[in-house]
Symmetry: C2
């Protein structure tokens, strides 16, 4: 093996080891924190049990799916088993399974730490914001380190063992398909519970959020874990793996003599992990400090460290190109800019949220209309950001030689995702403090503690909107790079089949255009199916809650010793989520196959483009509109526009309810849908070349 | 001139003459119908006056805009005046002005006939459904014939006089830009009034629709005319002109020796007009017949006649190709199929509307979520339809030679729009019976008459959803053809500049990709701006209505002789619409110019693609979701899910309010936005070639 590449592999494995060691340290630290309140322990145990039950059932369904998929992959990929070398088929099947398993483990670790950190953060909030913040943040960081560690480890190991990036596509596909279903399942679960709890509790009965009388309250807290922690972790695991995979597939087409570009990909990824570790280790807030500022500050610290470290490595390693460093830096900076503009549309100290809150005075129709409108507008800056960074990376790297332009774009994606460890830490912080708030309320820790928990929760919401914008931006660049990877794969297949190579996908070619139109419709249908899943499921759960309030005597009045049947609600959410999680994802995959078999590789090129473009647009729209409505409701609840109980508040709650599946089910799942479709296309390219109708 | 072309020109002018004569006959017939009820005359006069005031003010604003645009066009197009032949600049400027003027006249004629037919249809409804239907339908037909007549006349005249299709782009741009602003202005006016009237009347006070106590009721009826009649007329005038223009621009690149294809375009357009005349002339319903069936039947009759007539012409005229006839027939049939699938999603006898009505039982958030979801899904069949028809037309005509494939697509668009005379008749029928219903209510014509008017109105709504799907489909094919026209124009410009010609727009080219991403965001921002316009404006009007109910003593109680101040409401709607109609359209045009000057002709190619794809998706989504909510509300109001006054009804009203600007302001305006952007791109191609940065 090339000595430089060997060194970089060592650095990568070394940084993974440090990340794991640090994660274990943080986990032990979190576990050591005080957890003595009986009431909290009790509720926390319910949440943990609910989350574990759901995860177990979900993973069982996914295992069946993965098993079936593995068989199909073994038979067909990279070429039908009766045609090619069976070793390749075995390799790609193992890689696929490894991808699903690592993704599942990362999610599981997230659940373990989040369900431990929530109760400890609640207790610590009695002593002030500082210790509570640290517990929640470090809990999130365990998840962040695990996800990034596993993704780097997996990618390194696969490439190290087999040396062929096509096999890596199998690994990435495993990670993505698990993420697709985990995100969908978790997203449906969490929003079913959230919406039902809000509608029956807050709106109908006027009892506070997290009131223990509400039968859906535990399910709601379970949802935070399985949707926002496990689902999100699988999602970012998938994005990170896909970004590296795209870069490596393209790098292998460039590295004819020395694997310098391959080394560069790993080096940057490893340095991103190290930067995240440093950023996490230095995160602190002052005694009465602002948690939002603390989270953002550590993101900026990580960004800075990454840029400096990669500059050093580029300077020291012979063959690392400055232009590629430039592309990676552009990607990262644009990611930060997308985050900031997203914040403008979803932060309640900014005018947009206030306008939507004001419109709510005229009724819920105006809340919805203004939210949808600003949601649409909010997509523009991010779309421009992605477009400009792709164009800049391309132009910057094009002079390096053929194929380098697309490599530049893929490195911009790697750059944007380099700080993903930090991003996940911030993101997982959110559901932990959300849970902590619920526990503080249910454990009767007093008003002051709930207020502190509220403050932490609100920071979580603000940061979440930013990290979501970031994740969507990164997915955008990644799938553009995957489009490049797809073309590289297609040309390999065409060459082997002795056919003319593709130079690109021309819009004026009607087969391409055909693909574009259908590809563009898929994210809309996909997100609609998920939302309908939530819709149906929530209706079932609302009926169950109504039944309990009617049949369990003394429950509504809060009579001592009377408890709702929490488990029934968890069961409904679980059953519904498991039923609804497969069809949407399967539809996207089947549509890809249908277009590929009908229109061939050109139609798929167009299909991917249409899918990416409309997917990004809808994902940005839905995530931002959802965040906007959520914060508009919070803004009203904090005493503006008439405050709680006013007409504006009722309207804002409707907005928030619509926004919930937008931002936590459909919007972020679209990311994964795009990635999965891109990977299916790349993997199937040989088959499409051989078997398509047109 | 080529003798065949001369003959076809004669046929075209002849069919235009017949259309005008028939329109005059129908207008006289409508005017001759009984109009004796004093109360109705009084209210009808108010509506007419309101509509005329708005149109006058709107046309004044648009005249200023058109004047400024004409100066810019004169200076810059087709090439800067200091560089090229000034005669060309004068020609294109005159063509542009002619386009705006003819479009404006078509709208004005629609207003004249609609405000006459409404009161007469209301009176006729006393005698039964049959005479009322005929008056409303024939009133609509006057508009249909005028629009198609003027568009064919304009296109024929421009090409006959100057002989150069590039000048025709100027005419088409004039028609489109007027349509863009007329649709936006009318759409904002009508929905401002509609939403405000519903919210304050139906929801807050519980008084019926069209109750004369409601200060917004006249404005609401004015809105039907200025938005749904004049705006829609301008919109379809524009689509029809654009489809012919695209076909003619491409035909001219093919017709090197004989102008046979040019002749074919005119021949088909003229036969479409004749088919519409025959369809209109034979439209009838039985004494107690079903108006929906009558409207649909005449559409099918027109379709059949067109297919047969064009087959004859193709058989008899030497050089008319059967393959092109096939493309045109495919376009028309796919248009009908799109209409039928749209109907599935918006008809209350079908399951989707009922599901949304059922979901409303759980609250308005579920009405919104399910409506948005089904709206997204409803886009899929139409997207597939457009994709398949484009692909089929291309494949069918490709063997005819270079460039014929794109000509085939443009002829599919011409085919789809061939029956546009019939479509407009059906479409304009809607607001006329809507008005008639209001007049019957306000004129105290009795319950039976209102019921008949209601039945006519409901048919109007159902048919409207179908014609809208049709219009969007046609716009889709037209803009694909315009993309072809754009490339033809670009290559002319590149050739003159001595640069390498374009062979297409490659997705893998980052400049193209850059354009795609930004182009895709524009329809979202455009529709958001329009919806925010309605939102703001309606809030102002609701405040005014509240003021009137508070300050005008006896109004709420309906005391004899106490009248609201209708004019203030009309004024608010007018002022708001005029203020909001320019920015959104201007934004789309400026974005096109910005992308063109930055990224050049390749970026614009991508920009058009992104714009078309996301525009179609959003237009279909918004139109269908809006129609779905409207009919779900009507379904509940007719006694289902608890009927009027139930919780489900309240939720359904929220859905309808959100859907109003979706389906009548933003959705259908996107059509025009796409067309305008495509035409700007074609017109500016020479300038972009000369002055872009990249």
């Amino acid at each position: 093996m090339d000595p430089k590449l060997s060194l970089i592999y060592m650095i990568s494995f070394f940084s993974v080891t440090i990340a794991f060691a640090f994660a274990v340290f943080l986990l032990v630290w979190v576990k050591k924190q005080k957890n003595e309140n009986k009431k909290i322990q009790e509720v926390s145990a319910l949440i943990k049990a609910g989350a574990n039950t759901f995860m177990k059932k979900e993973y069982k369904v996914l295992a069946i799916f993965a098993g079936v998929a593995a068989v199909i992959i073994f038979i067909l990929l990279p070429v039908p088993v009766w045609k090619g070398d069976i070793v390749d088929n075995i390799s790609i099947t193992i890689a696929f399974i490894a991808g699903t398993v690592l993704s599942a483990i990362a999610g599981k670790i997230g659940i373990i730490v989040a369900t431990s950190a929530n109760s400890r953060a609640a207790e610590a909030a009695q002593k002030g914001i500082k210790p509570a913040f640290l517990i929640a943040f470090r809990g999130g960081a365990v998840m962040g380190l695990a996800v990034v560690g596993f993704s780097l480890l997996g990618v390194c190991a696969v490439l190290w063992v087999v040396g062929d990036a096509t096999i890596l596509l199998g690994f990435s596909f495993g990670a993505s398909s698990l993420a697709l279903f985990a995100k969908a399942g978790g997203g449906i679960f969490t929003k079913t519970a959230d919406i039902s709890a809000d509608l029956t509790g807050k709106v109908e009965l006027g009892i506070p959020e997290d009131d223990p009388r509400n039968p859906a309250v535990i399910a709601d807290n379970v949802g935070d874990n399985v949707g926002d922690v496990a689902g999100m972790g699988a999602d970012l695991f998938d994005s990170n793996v896909a970004a590296m995979t795209a870069a490596l597939v393209i790098a292998q087409t460039l590295d004819t003599s020395t694997p310098v570009n391959t080394a560069m990909v790993f080096c940057y990824a490893a340095l991103g992990l190290i930067s995240s570790i440093l950023g996490i280790a230095t995160a602190r807030i002052g005694k009465n400090g602002n948690p939002t500022r603390a989270l953002n500050a550590s993101t900026y610290v990580t960004t800075g460290i990454f840029i400096v470290l990669t500059a050093f490595s580029t300077y020291f390693f012979n063959g690392f190109e400055w232009r590629i460093w430039g592309a990676s830096t552009i990607g990262l900076l644009v990611g930060v800019i997308i985050g900031i503009t997203t914040n403008y549309f979803t932060d309640d100290s900014k005018p947009i949220v206030r306008k939507v809150a004001k419109a709510s005075n005229s009724g819920s129709a105006f809340t919805i209309l203004s939210g949808i409108s600003y949601g649409f507008i909010s997509a523009l800056p991010a779309m421009i950001g992605i477009a400009v960074s792709a164009l800049a990376a391309y132009q910057l790297c094009d002079p390096l030689g053929e194929g380098y332009a697309m490599f530049g774009i893929s490195m911009a994606a790697v750059g944007m995702l380099s700080i993903v460890g930090m991003i996940i830490s911030n993101d997982a912080y959110g559901p932990i403090v959300d849970n902590a708030r619920g526990l503080a309320e249910m454990g009767n820790l007093g008003e002051d503690t709930v207020r502190i928990a509220d403050e932490l929760d609100s920071a979580g919401n603000t940061v979440k909107a930013v990290t979501k914008g970031f994740a969507i931006g990164a997915a955008g660049l990644t799938v553009i790079a995957l489009l490049g990877a797809y073309m590289a794969e297609v040309n390999v297949a065409l060459k082997e089949a002795g056919k003319a190579l593709l130079t690109g996908f021309d819009i004026m070619n009607p087969t391409v255009f055909f693909g574009v139109l259908i590809g563009a419709a898929i994210p809309a249908v996909f997100s609609a199916m998920l939302m309908l899943g939530v819709d149906k499921n929530a209706q079932r759960m609302v009926a169950e809650i109504h039944r309990q309030f009617k049949e369990i005597i003394g429950l509504k009045e809060g009579r001592e010793g009377v408890k709702p049947d929490y488990d029934r609600c968890i069961e409904i959410a679980t059953r519904g989520a498991l039923k609804e999680l497969i069809p949407a994802g399967l539809m996207a995959i089947v549509a890809t196959l249908a277009v590929g078999f009908i229109g061939g590789v050109s139609a798929i090129g167009g299909f991917l483009l249409g899918n990416i473009v409309s997917g990004l647009l809808l994902a940005l729209f839905m995530s931002n509109a959802g965040g906007l409505w959520d914060n508009a409701k919070k803004y009203v609840e904090s005493g503006n526009e008439g405050g709680k109980g006013s007409e504006a508040h009722k309207a804002a709650v409707v907005g928030d309810t619509v926004g919930d599946p937008f931002k936590d089910t459909a919007g972020p799942s679209i990311n994964t849908q795009i990635t999965v479709v891109s990977l299916v296309a790349s993997l199937m390219s040989t088959i499409f070349v051989a078997f398509s109708i047109f």
